[in-house]
């Protein structure tokens, strides 16, 4: 019987899916970074969102009391100084609705327990915190928060939840609104505003609450697992917000 010569050099005879016998453990050490040309693996070759939050470390995403992604508003610019108290406080004192700035806390709340502790200003403009469901703020095609133009801020994003806590001296009230993705509800509207008091927002067992030092308001009564992005409500001069603590609570 005549033997048939098989030409293994032709790619078509050797499709990758016919080679299950070559596995990572059989290639031990054979592919090293030294064998990869400089710049052969570039970010352009990694699909957007191929590296997800779930595949990065918890620490990278955890909520931190650090202001990032600063956005100027109403003529604010780098000539102004909008941070003090060792950069824990965002403050604008540039007249009524004069130049101001908003910021975002680094990380997010995750889906479990968290706590934010802060002091809203007692000034003419609103001072407080916004919390927006992940996906509700403006991002670019890479999923990064938009910094140019009108920036990352979005008020009442369709289909995404948003919470606003505010305090001021001109209305002289403590205020909280909850946007459920389609409708807005005022949960707190009580006088008077607080001057220097510490406020808390926290979630435990799916219940989301606000303490304004006078009383406690239940924002979401049960089942909340929203991954919240926290930002300052300081886009309006005069206002301030000092962050004292912000954390995902993993212990008891």
């Amino acid at each position: 019987m005549a033997l048939t010569r098989v030409n293994y050099s032709r790619q078509g005879n050797f499709p990758i899916d016919k080679l299950p016998s070559i596995t990572n453990d059989k290639l031990s050490g054979s592919i090293s970074t030294a064998k990869l040309a400089d710049n052969s693996v570039t970010t352009a070759k990694i699909a957007d969102n191929a590296v997800t939050n779930n595949k990065t470390s918890t620490g990278e995403n955890s909520l931190k009391p650090v202001w990032i992604n600063l956005n100027y508003n109403a003529g604010g610019n780098s000539s102004h100084t909008f941070m003090d108290q060792y950069c824990t406080r965002i403050i604008s004192n540039n007249g009524n609705s004069g130049p101001a700035m908003r910021g975002m806390l680094e990380g997010s709340t995750g889906t479990g327990r968290f706590m934010i502790k802060y002091i809203p200003g007692y000034m003419w403009g609103w001072s407080g915190i916004y919390m927006t469901e992940r996906g509700g703020l403006n991002v670019d095609s890479n999923g990064d928060f938009v910094m140019s133009g009108s920036g990352w801020w979005a008020q009442h994003p369709t289909g995404k939840k948003q919470i606003w806590t505010g305090n001021n001296s001109s209305n002289n009230v403590r205020y909280c609104q909850y946007w459920n993705g389609s409708t807005n509800t005022t949960l707190l509207n009580s006088g008077s505003g607080t001057n220097g008091a510490t406020w808390y927002i926290w979630r435990d067992s799916g219940v989301l609450r606000l303490s304004d030092s006078v009383g406690t308001t239940t924002i979401i009564a049960s089942g909340d697992t929203t991954d919240w992005i926290c930002s300052s409500s300081t886009e309006q001069s005069t206002s301030s917000l000092q962050i004292l603590q912000a954390e995902r609570i993993t212990g008891t």
Partner: protein, 78 residues
């Protein structure tokens, strides 16, 4: 009604010219947000004062190095 084309500080000044000294700001859709207040100037009353408010803003801004025309803006440091 959208107030998008007006500066936030001009809007605050127009409110004051209507006798309203509390906080007001623009929503992202350009409408005015009066917070919890139910008694406040109407959109038309705001428009009626917007020209005077703009003039006051421009006049103050022209006299400052930082061009800040906002009401109650603190004095500039020498």
């Amino acid at each position: 009604m959208s107030f998008d084309k007006y500066n936030d500080a001009v809007i605050a000044r127009a409110a004051v010219l209507n006798g309203y000294n509390k906080c007001v700001f623009k929503n992202q859709d350009g409408t005015l947000n009066w917070g919890p207040e139910t008694a406040h100037p109407t959109d038309q009353e705001m428009l009626d004062k917007i020209s005077a408010a703009q003039s006051a803003y421009d006049s103050q801004a022209a006299g400052r190095k930082d061009s800040n025309g906002a009401l109650s803006a603190p004095d500039e440091e020498e």
